[in-house]
Every structure is written in structure tokens, then in C-alpha cells.
Amino acid sequence: MTKYIIKKLLIMALTVFLISLAVFFIITLPPGDFMTNYVGRMLAAGERVNQEEIDALRRTYALDQPFIIQFWRWFSKIIFHGDFGYSFSLSMPVTAVIKAYIGPTMALSITTMLFTYIISIPVGIYSAVHQYSFGDYFFTTICFLGQAVPNFLMAILLMFIAFRLTGDTMLGLYSPKYQNAPWSWEKFLDLLKHCIIPVLVIGLNNTCGLIRTMRSQMLDELNKNYVMTGKAKGMKAAAIRYKYCVRAAVNPIASSIGWSLVNIFTGTTITAIVLNLPSMGTVMYNALINQDMYLAGSWLFLMAIATVIGTFISDVLLAWLDPRARKEYLKG
């Protein structure tokens, strides 16, 4: 077991290294570097630019060095000092930016995930058990429609509807008057109100996908031979469903929790941009547009790491839930 975990961790370390290489490659793809961009904007704004200062900055960030050296500087700082570099566009360390935005992002993601699971598992089971019933057709249709609307369009539509109904577009996470107010019950309610649209938008695609997966998993299980054994034993059909089928159908879905959280975490990106939420997505978008390479790179890097960790958690969960996988897992 220990041997297995060590092997797994080593592979993970290698993957992380390769990922960071890829990330760094991607963020250096755009022609020119941040400095060229920066200088361009300074000049456009009518400011004078001191070439020596620029060169000094270039040297500090090793922008004049070959790719591999630039990469190593960046990577070693992250690994050994937890230093993700400096955000040129926000004029603060990337670590500080991440700290400021990680809270709302995680809160939004976890709320959405809870919403997703609470809705999709029961609905999926219902649809499978009552296959071809009115309810099944109803939910299947909704899922098809829900999956066909891109997140950003959904966000725009809901924003429009919210404005029509309440006169408030529900942009951001707080109403302006609570933006800087201390925490209070009203502020919390205001936050919840502003969460409705993002949760709906981010959750909808995932929920629809999950309902369909749950439904087909459940249908698979309902057609398995052990259901017939259960009937032959004299079990009630509903008892067979809940003891055997649901448990088996939920397994793969429950074990994908780690991966699913990451999925939602990144799913917030687009929605956040449209709804102007104070989440990592917006920051990332601006960083990309402004070619703020360290900020954009760190974000991409963190997302990828989260996926690796999420996959690991899913593996462990699956092994824990399914005796067959447990055996494989123990064997290594």
C-alpha cells in the first residue's frame, strides 16, 4: 500500500513538473513580453519611459534570458518560496491576488457543487426508475436544453430576467450598499440573493450532465442480473433498487467528486466574467488580456494542480467505495 502511494506520488510529482513546463511555455507564447506591452501603454499614456529602468526590470525577471532559465527561475521560486511572481497589471504579488480571490471562488464552487448533487442524484434515479414516463421525458428534455445553452448566454438571459423581475441585474456578489459594510444578517441575505444566478448558471450544465449520467448508470444497474436474484429472493423491488442499484450507480459519481469540484471551479470562469463576480475567473481573464504572464500562469498552474489532486482524491474515493477497486488499489 505504502509502495503504491509512493509510486503514485512520484508520478504526480513528475506530472506537476511537466505541467509547469507546459504552463510556462503557454504564457510565453504571445509575441513580445510583458515589458513591451507595458512600455507601449506607458508611452500611449504620455508618460516618459526610462530605458534603464525597463532593462533593470527585464533583468530582475530574467526576461532577457533563454526560455529554460526563465522557466527555472519561475518554477524554483514557486516550489522553494511559494512565490508565484509579481502581477504587473495589479501591481501586487500574485500570492496576494490569489489570497484575495480564492475565498469567494471556493465558496461559490462548493455551493454550486452541493446544489448540483442534491438535484441531480434524486432526479437521475427517478428518471431511470420511471423510464419513459412523463417525468422522465420532462427531465430529459430539460437536461438536453440545459446542456445546449452556453454558460455565458445563460448568464445573460438570467441577468435580463432578474432585471425585468426585480429591477436589479444582480451583478457582482454584493449590492453596492453592502460592498464595504461589515458582516450582518442583511449582508448575508444579500450575498445569498446574488448567489442564485451564478449557482444556477454554473450548476446548470453540470447538473444536466450529472442527471444524464446518473440516469444511464442507474438504468445499467437496473438491468443487471443481481436485480433478478434479489427478486428471486423475495425482496421488494424498491428495496433492491435502494440497497443494490443506487449504491452501485452512485459510486462512480461520488468518486468523481474531486474532479467535479475542479470542473465547477473552472466553470466559474466564464460566468464570473459575464456576471462580474470577484472570482479568479475575472482576474484570469484580465491577466490574459493584459498579458500579465505571472498572474495568468499561476492561475493556470493552480487549476492544473487542483485537477491532479482532484483526480487523486477520486481514485482514493473509488477504492474506498468499491470493493473490486479496493483490491486493485491494495495490490498496487
Binding site: 511537466l18 452556453p150 441585474t169 475542479v262 473552472t266 470562469t269 459575464v274 484570469m284 488580456i289 487549476m303
Partner: protein, 381 residues
């Protein structure tokens, strides 16, 4: 039972017999086709897609305006209604000429119909200068399907804030939005099949290396990676180059999924007796892969690919919407929707959401088609 009834029941039974016989001996593809045709929703969706793609292919002819044409006089103009009767008399399809009025309170310009002037719609007309195009990129022409008579303007879906005809832009946008996913999918298919079969067929260190690569790419969440890559596209590039880069980006991100499937299919199929038989009888590796192994799970791959197109359509639309993919004057549905990002736009000019209907319909149609194909390919259904 009368003689006739007996006879008819006998022929019915006979045809049933034929039916069951056919059922036993039909090829896999014939069976798939038959099952697919029974799936009404999927058939309907395929038909819709066919129309969409044909429209896109003949887009330059069908669209009254070219990509770079605009009419500064008609900015933010609502869709023009097409009429058939003028003052109770049938005149065929026509539009009224338009005049511009200013709202006395808000000072906003309005385009209203001038009920006096009838402008018939002409078909197969020579377009305005600037609407030139080439049939299939070869034969220059400026013939358009329809146009209003001198003095009239026809904007079926209204115009945008530069006075460009939205109907034309939706059709021309389809050329990008509907073809990027397909080209991207084909590229994914080639990459995925090639890399996946290498890993699955040879195993060993080839497999290990490819597996690592797959793992690394799959560790990147799709949307942020798309965003990062398309942000790297230089803003000065020509639309055609951006198109190519976009397809490459889309498929770069999605090949590992397919490669993984192909790899595992390969590994399981490798153990099958018919592959063993072919190998023993001396078939070379290339033939073994292309003639025996890939066809054995091809139907699965086709289904998988059809199902992947919707996410590519959404991907392209989203990126363009964010201004990370194609940019104006190049047109795609995402680019068209950029304007709707402002709430005021939707409040006052809600026709600008029309491109959304097409995104929605094409994604839905691909989903249904994919679903139908999957059911048809499933031998246990």
C-alpha cells in the same frame, strides 16, 4: 376467416419472416442505419443540421451583405417585416422603405416603416459593390439570393451598432462557427486515433510516454486552457489564420480524451481471437490496425466524436464572445453575441440575441444526432 383475410395474413406473416431473416443477416452498418432512422428526433436533428450546413456553404450567395459591408444610415435597426399585401392588394413579398425619426424625449434614432413606399423583393440580383464573393473560392460573382428594390432595405434579423445586416452576419458567422468544430473534431480524430493506437498497439515505453503526455494535457481544465492559448493568438493575424489556429487549439485540448479511449479499446481488442488469427496469418501491423482493429470500434468513435462537437461549438462561441478568438470584422456567432454583453443592448435591441438561437439549435441538434447514433450503435438496444 375468409379466403382473402387468410391470404393477407399469410403475406403479412411472410413479410415478418423476411423481416426476421433480414434482422439476422444484416451488416452492422445496415442495422445501425435502420435503428437510427427509427429515432425520429435524431432524424429531424440531422435534417436541421443538413440545412444549416448547406446554408453556410452557400452563405455568400444567400446573405444579402458581405462580411465587410455596412450601412451607417441604418444603425441598430429592428428586423424589417416582410409584407405581401399593400392596402389590401396582393403584391408579392415586399418591404416598406424606411425613414428615420428621432425620439423627442430621448433623442434616440428610430427607423420606422414608410407605409407609402413599396419596395418589392427581387431575387437573384446583382449585389451592391463590396458584396463580391467567389463560388467555392474559385468563381467570382456578386449574385445574391434576394434584395429589396432601390430605396428599400431588408434586414431580416435587424442590424448591429455599425449598421451591418444581422441575417447576413449570422449566415456568414455559421461558416466559422459550424466549421471550426468540425475541422477541430477531424483534427482531434486524426491525433487521437494515431496517438491512441500507437500507445495501445505497441505498449511498453511508447505507451508510458504517451500516457504521461495524456495525463499532463488532461490535467488542464479545458476552458482556461482554451482561453490561455487563444489569448496568445496575435491580434494582427488574418481571419483565415485565426481560423486555423482556433481549430488547432480546440483539438490540442481534446485529443487526449479520444486517445485514451482508443488506447483502451486497442488493448482489449488485441486480446480478441480474430486479431490473433489475423496476426498469426501474417498481417502486417499497419494492416492489422487499419483493417481489423479500428473498424471493430469505429462506430463507438463516431458516436464519441459527434457527441464532442457541441462542446467545440460552445467553446468557439464562448472564446469569441470573450474576445479571445476571432475578432471583428471576422464573423462568428460568438463575435455577434459580444454586443449582448451589455444589458442595455438586450433591453433596447433584443433582436441582437438572435444568433443565440442558432447556437442553441445547432448544439441541440448535434446532441440529439449523437444520442440517436449512440443508441443505434448499441447492439444491446
Amino acid at each position: 376467416m375468409s379466403e382473402e383475410v387468410k391470404k393477407s395474413s399469410k403475406t403479412a406473416a411472410h413479410s415478418d419472416e423476411k423481416k426476421s431473416e433480414k434482422y439476422y443477416y444484416a451488416s452492422q452498418w445496415a442495422l445501425m442505419g435502420r435503428k437510427f432512422r427509427r429515432h425520429k428526433l435524431a432524424m429531424g436533428s440531422t435534417f436541421v443540421l443538413l440545412i444549416f450546413y448547406l446554408t453556410a456553404i452557400f452563405g455568400n450567395f444567400i446573405a444579402p451583405q458581405g462580411t465587410e459591408q455596412y450601412d451607417g444610415k441604418f444603425v441598430n435597426c429592428a428586423p424589417t417585416p416582410v409584407h405581401y399585401f399593400h392596402e389590401g392588394k396582393f403584391v408579392g413579398p415586399f418591404v416598406y422603405a424606411m425613414k428615420t425619426e428621432r425620439d423627442p424625449v430621448t433623442f434616440m434614432a428610430h427607423h420606422v416603416e414608410d407605409k407609402e413606399k413599396v419596395c418589392r423583393i427581387k431575387f437573384f440580383t446583382e449585389g451592391d459593390p463590396g458584396g463580391e464573393y467567389k463560388w467555392f473560392g474559385l468563381f467570382p460573382s456578386n449574385i445574391h439570393l434576394f434584395e429589396a428594390e432601390e430605396g428599400g432595405k431588408i434586414f431580416l434579423f435587424g442590424t448591429d451598432n455599425m449598421g451591418r445586416d444581422l441575417f447576413s452576419r449570422v449566415i456568414l458567422g455559421a461558416q466559422i462557427s459550424l466549421f471550426i468544430p468540425v475541422v477541430g473534431m477531424l483534427l482531434t480524430l486524426v491525433l487521437g486515433l494515431f496517438i491512441g493506437s500507437l500507445a495501445g498497439y505497441f505498449g511498453g515505453w511508447v505507451d508510458t510516454v504517451i500516457q504521461r503526455a495524456i495525463e499532463v494535457v488532461r490535467s488542464f481544465p479545458q476552458v482556461p486552457l482554451w482561453m490561455a492559448l487563444s489569448a496568445a493568438i496575435p491580434k494582427t493575424m488574418k481571419p483565415a489564420q485565426v481560423f486555423m489556429l482556433m481549430t488547432i487549439i480546440l483539438s490540442l485540448v481534446s485529443w487526449p480524451g479520444l486517445a485514451r479511449v482508443v488506447r483502451s479499446k486497442f488493448i482489449s481488442v488485441k486480446k480478441e481471437d480474430f486479431i490473433m488469427a489475423a496476426r498469426i496469418s501474417g498481417a502486417p501491423a499497419s494492416k492489422l490496425i487499419t483493417r481489423h482493429m479500428i473498424p471493430s470500434f469505429l462506430s463507438y468513435i463516431i458516436v464519441d466524436m459527434t457527441m464532442s462537437i457541441p462542446s467545440l461549438i460552445i467553446g468557439e462561441t464562448t472564446l469569441s464572445f470573450l474576445g479571445l478568438g476571432l475578432r471583428s470584422p471576422a464573423t462568428s456567432w460568438g463575435v455577434l453575441l459580444q454586443e449582448t454583453n451589455k444589458l442595455e443592448t438586450i433591453m433596447f435591441y433584443n433582436w441582437k440575441l438572435i444568433p443565440m438561437i442558432f447556437v442553441f439549435l445547432s448544439v441541440l441538434a448535434f446532441n440529439f444526432t449523437g444520442d440517436g447514433l449512440r443508441d443505434a450503435a448499441d447492439p444491446y438496444k
